[in-house]
């Protein structure tokens, strides 16, 4: 498996958010590409972003900072970042850092509508 990859799903009609799959590890080596790709996606004025982190195997503090940056940016425009299906390990990192209080985290697609306040 690749150590890091991003899968940006195309905008679909009728879906009020963009979906991006984050795969592999998000650390100081991979975070730059991650930030560039997602911020240029947000440059198009996307208000709601769904990060599917089902396949995110590791996140370092640099990765957490990047997620914070995205959250800040989206909330400035009344948008929202939602994280989908973190692994137990990644969820634990979020919990220890207290980020389960900040990030919207859901475990299934059916919870998305509520998470995005749609």
């Amino acid at each position: 498996m690749k150590s890091y990859d991003l899968l940006i799903h195309p905008a679909e009609d009728g879906t009020p958010f963009r979906r991006v799959d984050v795969i592999g590890t998000l650390d100081s080596h991979t975070v730059q590409g991650f930030e560039q790709s997602l911020h240029s996606l947000l440059d198009d004025g996307i208000p709601r972003l769904l990060l599917n982190i089902e396949q995110l195997t590791y996140i370092s503090s640099a990765g957490i900072s990047a997620l914070m940056g995205l959250t800040h940016r989206l909330r400035q425009t009344n948008g929202e970042l939602v994280l989908l299906k973190p692994t137990e390990k990644v969820y634990r990192v979020f919990r220890t850092l207290g980020f389960t209080n900040i990030f919207k985290i859901v475990d299934s697609d059916t919870e998305l509508t509520a998470a995005f306040n749609l």
């Binding site: 850092l97 209080n101 900040i102």
Partner: protein, 499 residues
Amino acid sequence: MVWILFIFLSVAAVAIHRQRRAILALTYELGNREREKNAVFDFLNRTGERITTSLDVTGTLQLVVEFLQDATKADAAAIFLRQPDEPDVLRAPVVLGFFPPLHRTTTERLLAKRKFLAERARHDTIRIGEGIVGRVAELGKGMLITDAERDERVPREASEVIPIKDLILAPIKIRGETLGVLVLVNKREDGPFSESDMSLVTAIADQAAVMLDLVRLYDEFTAKQRVEQQLQVAKEFQQMLLPRELPRIETIEVAGFSQPALEVGGDYYDFIDVDEHHLGVVIADVSGKGVPGALVMASVRASLRAEARGNLSPREVLRATNAQAVKDTKRGVFITATYGVLDKRTGVFRFARAGHDPLVVVRPEDGELTLHEPNGIALGLMEGEVFDLLEESEVSLKDDGAIVLYTDGVVEAMDEQKRLYGDARLHEVLKNTAGEPPQAVIEAINLDIEAFAGVREPHDDITIVVLQWRRPAAQDAAVEPESTGGAEPLETPATDTGT
């Protein structure tokens, strides 16, 4: 007859004239091309000497690619370079025109729109050996493809968005090492690309290699110098801020340890006299490294010290420290900390946890561990209600056991295979050293990390603080189990690898 001859001659004359004009134009063009080429050569030669950082390099590469795109009349052009930190990966710092995807990736689906293509080419990474660009980098041999549609080396799926007609790929090579690949796509007029286009690109690629090589050497040199300097300053600074001596308390034994990593992080621990009967204890870890990390650490330490005096609520102290940290730190930098107030008379430790690793309590009799992880987010990120979720919790050194605080450098210590030391192994050491003096516990942890990771500089700071109630009768009460092997299976609250 004469008129036939006349016509023939006129036609011939016109033809000759045209031919001559064409030759003239061609000579002129060649001269132009030659001049431009020389100009670029000169430029590259000069810049190679002058350029001192990789930032300048991108500007130069931009000019090189622009020149090549223009000279070969290519629709699109790009330069792919090996990444210094990831040598098996290519990335394109410069992409011009509508650059088609030249290798398959999972992001393909995004790319219905042309405007994304340059963007994508810039952000995408190509592994050495992957796709046509990766192969040129791997083999170090250029390719001139004049009929891309029929050439197997050109990926089919790429042509859906932008059809590829012809291609030039030239390796940027020096001393047998490929630093990158120059790519030109689709000749606009007089296509396809010719051998002479190819040789121009190859010549420029060779020149660019010399320049990049120089810059790389310079970069390595300055980076090393810079890192060493930073390292020294930050290390000294950090050491200066650590407690020079441990508090002496009749009832409580205290030990602390902090070892900065090669790339200094911003760990610290501190003991603060809150009032006559209370000792403030803090352990913290700044997410940034180097001098910036050490500076953030210093400012957090200063504000926490100021807030702690006379204040018996760890929650309030952390709230005030957070408010200051939010103002002081750059967006994205955060600090995890556990701060508590220890009552020296009763041994009760009242604490709050700002996103820090769990606090572990070790029962001295049998080594049973309890993990405390009250709610709370890291410092420096947010003020207001989210931060105010911070909870206070209480542990009694006397009744519950010794308190162990640590930073994630402990559980994230790595062995050569990059496996993590992990919570489980730390817990094992804590169980086995239950009841031993704090200093001995810290030494045992360090020895075990060393046994796991080998003797080398840790990649993250390692900081440990241990607090223990002094038992007046400890020596003769024989509570210290020499081998705790008899202890029943110790239940550890569900906990896995840390951050």
